[in-house]
Amino acid sequence: MAESQFVYVTYIRTTAEKLWRALTEPEFTRRFWHDTIQECEWMPGASWRIVTPDGRTADSGEVVEIEPYRRLVLTWLHHLHPEAHAEGYSRLTYTLEEKGEVVKLTVLHEMDKSGSKLIKAISGGWPMILASLKSLLETGESLEATRRWPEGM
């Protein structure tokens, strides 16, 4: 297979609606996603970006597909690391499935290029952010390591 892919599945004790809000609304993302916010009108074709606490664009793209509380597909271009930026657009898909008391969240981040530096880098970052998201929704507290923007980045 000529692509680079990262997949993460986690089961979170919450509702699909709360999880969706946590993934998209600033008052949540600031707490588990390194104090960043996402700017977007959340409709098909809308532009989207992740904004760092000092106002820089970390990642940007467009909403490809949106089905509230179920599925969100974004194109994703990284801006901070030149090598990852040079690789161009990747694609992110969130899938939310309610299963009784829990929601199964699948995060698929992929790039049409083998050996992608971006996918390698995000493979290290996503698990911590998603573990923190789960902690926030289940206990009301995110993980400390994800509450601030990393120094020097």
């Binding site: 297979m1 692509e3 680079s4 892919q5 997949v7 599945v9 089961y11 008391e101 573990a131």
Partner: protein, 112 residues
């Protein structure tokens, strides 16, 4: 989902077989493979691979996603990340990584 303890038991049980660790290594090298792709170059029957994948899926170490008519298997880092979070202090992580890199360098390989 059962209790936390039952989930962790499944992960350790799934990891306690060299064939299943080999399957995880194959997915780490090339994530998103069909059953057929996973079976090539393995000295295991298709039935054995299917059985091992089932245990890996029950432990959520492997997840599947349908792409058209193909069922692709992916390594899911979540369970191992949770285990690491539980026993490895965040301040130890940098030092452990440095030691692992040193060991790999000295031993001249990166799959230690």
């Amino acid at each position: 989902m059962g209790s936390m303890g039952a989930e962790v038991d499944k992960v350790f049980k799934a990891l306690a077989a060299p064939e299943r660790r080999l399957l995880l290594d194959r997915l780490r090298a090339d994530n998103g493979q069909t059953l057929g792709q996973l079976c090539t170059h393995l000295e295991m029957t298709r039935q054995a691979v299917t059985k091992h994948l089932k245990l890996l899926e029950e432990a959520t170490l492997v997840v599947t996603i349908w792409r058209g008519r193909e069922k692709l298997h992916y390594l899911n880092p979540m369970p191992i990340h949770e285990i690491a979070e539980r026993w490895i202090d965040k301040y130890e992580r940098g030092r452990l990584r440095a030691l692992a890199e040193l060991k790999a360098k000295l031993e001249g390989e990166d799959n230690g």
